[in-house]
Symmetry: C2
Subunit: 390 residues, 2 copies
């Protein structure tokens, strides 16, 4: 946690501590007062005053834990109350929009999703559908989201939610943040999908407690989110790097970006479909089903996914050499690759990455959050400013 | 500048302000009291007290500026006094060690350098030679360096100066920091050469005022230093990424790192020598002379350096796509490439990097510090803790 400014005024200190306590409960879940005191470095009377205040306004509740350890008075668990603050999360993918209402503590209280086709992928169509769906979800759950987070597979300006370019959606210069704020009547934050996937894994997934992490997402496009020294890595103007457009294969396929043999053209969904002998626009369900059946037949994995695996591995060697992460999380479609593929990727990175050797071995793991990572990341993007205000 | 903690004690505030003022003078050079007050956001009486104190202890002096503007009393210039604090900087390159004694304000007060050969490249030999040379330099200049900074072309652990691997020097697990401290009797900081080149360009070179920068150095090895949001980028354990080991050419040459077609094998000094039809171990002077004569004959640049230029440009497209820098600085041997090569590289990055397009165009420039960048960076590494103590 951050510590309050030494010598700050008492009300500032109290607000700072209150936010830190709420963030702790929101991210790490129910805790006893003693655990909160130890984690936050505050004394028990301060914790008591904060918890009492939050309980009084209905933001937290206290319960006797189900399992009691030892004799004596049970230590009460402090639980965040999900409906004390809810946010709306929107994950705009190339083939689908997924939405969720997420409560304090991170539970997904309600969901909606719909497929996108050529016409329904237009920004105006997506915005209208999101607004309609948001109203239905909120009415159904009887909640009012206080903020909105949106994940977009593209180059996004965080300050105002401008989507500079989302090539696989065919979006250019879309003022998504402003337009959604106008219809949703709540503050909207827009982020790059891979960055939000990394955030989700960092807070609630495979990368909890890790400070140097790369999250790779392969959907139609390939992207990467980097956490460096505990903070999201961004370039000039706050733009997130595009790991999918590293050049891995000079004689590879032509990419819309103007290059040839981008990582995206070699390990994106189309490349995977080609390797699996599926049509390049096969529905996601068919791709996943094929990967699952392949996993049950390890002998054919090398035959069918051998080349795909090599490009995935060689790209990861470069990623690890450039960023020096302790952990790489394979997200999205990459999270359903057969174990044999992931094992081979691990072996190549271990053998060939000099930076992995230097830092004692970069771990490579499949995302436990899978398809929900970006939705969860979008929710956390929305929650961040809210936790200070609840 | 950073601001002191609100409510900090008066002596802490004074020390903080004193360090900020000294850093300003050290990096930006002589300034009037009025400029210092404006830059640091302090009132003139505070500046007066600080300058008077520093002048009394001989750390700064005040002079009438040579050029007087307008009538009235001239505004005195505050000048850092070079010998008030000097550091020793050591740049261990593959073919040579360069040393310098650098004074407050950044002037190089004295230098030494010697070539390395197979035997003299052993750590023990280098350490002994550095110690002898340091003594001679200090005696000659009549100074006592208060700290030492060392640049090494390898994977370095900053916390204790362990050189994990410096492949082109054939060094592995060398406790360089500790061993140099034992013989030099001063605190020693060791850094990766590309990171220090980036630091030097950021403080005193092409990247002043830029917050997202990549510095590329091509010597025998190729490396990169990244400044992201104003801070040096590091991976797990503080290790710096190895941009030279991004894989650009799957059918390229075998690299010692275990890969094939690393950027280093395609655009390092050996590749440049091959392109120029020089022996791969040609002395640096011959390579530079050949590049200079080529620059005078633009018609043959494309013919001789065409392929080299393409690999340099394609690697930079990936670097720009991954880090999103506003500025790329070409250092070391890359700083003496003919203009036609740099122009071609700029054109390729402009056309093919989607991130460059998003951020409004990444600038690409040759290092004005050239061969001194890493020495200057090593000096700044040594100065950083010193400025708070002078």
């Amino acid at each position: 946690m951050t510590t309050p400014t030494a010598g700050a005024r008492p009300d500032e200190v109290r607000r700072h501590n209150r936010t830190a306590l709420l963030r702790r409960l929101h991210v790490d879940g129910p805790s006893t007062r003693a655990e909160l005191a130890a984690e936050l470095g505050l004394n028990r009377s301060t914790i008591k005053a904060l918890v009492d205040g939050l309980a009084e306004s209905g933001v937290v509740a206290e319960r006797v834990p189900a399992q009691r350890s030892g004799a004596g008075r049970p230590s009460l668990l402090v639980l965040p109350q999900p409906t004390a603050a809810v946010v709306l999360a929107v994950d705009v993918r190339v083939e689908q929009v997924a939405m969720g209402v997420i409560g304090l503590g991170g539970d997904i209280l309600g969901r909606d999703s719909w497929n996108l086709h050529h016409r329904s992928r237009q920004p105006a169509e997506v915005i209208t559908h999101v607004a309609d769906s948001a109203k239905l979800l909120a009415d159904e759950l009887d909640v009012v989201p206080v903020a909105v987070g949106v994940s977009v597979p593209g180059v996004v300006r965080r300050s105002d939610g401008l989507v500079h370019e989302a090539p696989n959606l065919h979006w250019t210069e879309v003022e998504l943040g402003k337009r959604l704020e106008a219809v949703l009547k709540a503050p909207v934050q827009v982020g790059n999908d891979a960055e939000l996937g990394a955030l989700a894994e960092h807070l609630r997934g495979a990368a909890r407690g890790a400070s140097d992490v790369v999250y790779i997402s392969a959907d139609v496009g390939v992207g990467g989110g980097v956490i460096s020294s505990g903070h999201p890595l961004r370039g000039a103007g706050g733009y997130v790097g595009e790991l999918g457009h590293m050049l891995v294969r000079p004689d590879g396929r032509t990419c819309y970006c103007g290059c040839r043999g981008c990582w995206e053209t070699e390990v994106g969904e189309s490349a995977l479909c080609r390797a699996l002998a599926l049509p390049e626009d096969a529905p996601r369900g068919a791709v996943v089903a094929e990967l699952r059946s392949l996993a049950a037949d390890p002998s054919s994995v090398e035959h069918r996914l051998g080349e795909f695996t090599e490009w995935l591995a060689l790209g990861l060697v470069t990623v690890v050499n450039m960023f020096g992460p302790e952990l790489v999380v394979l997200g999205d479609l990459l999270a359903v690759l057969p174990d044999a593929v992931v094992d081979r990727v691990r072996a190549v990175v271990r053998e060939r990455s000099l930076v992995s050797r230097a830092i004692g071995g970069t771990r490579i793991t499949s995302s436990p959050l899978g398809r929900d990572a970006k939705l969860i990341g979008a929710a956390e993007l929305a929650f961040e400013p809210v936790l200070g205000l609840v």
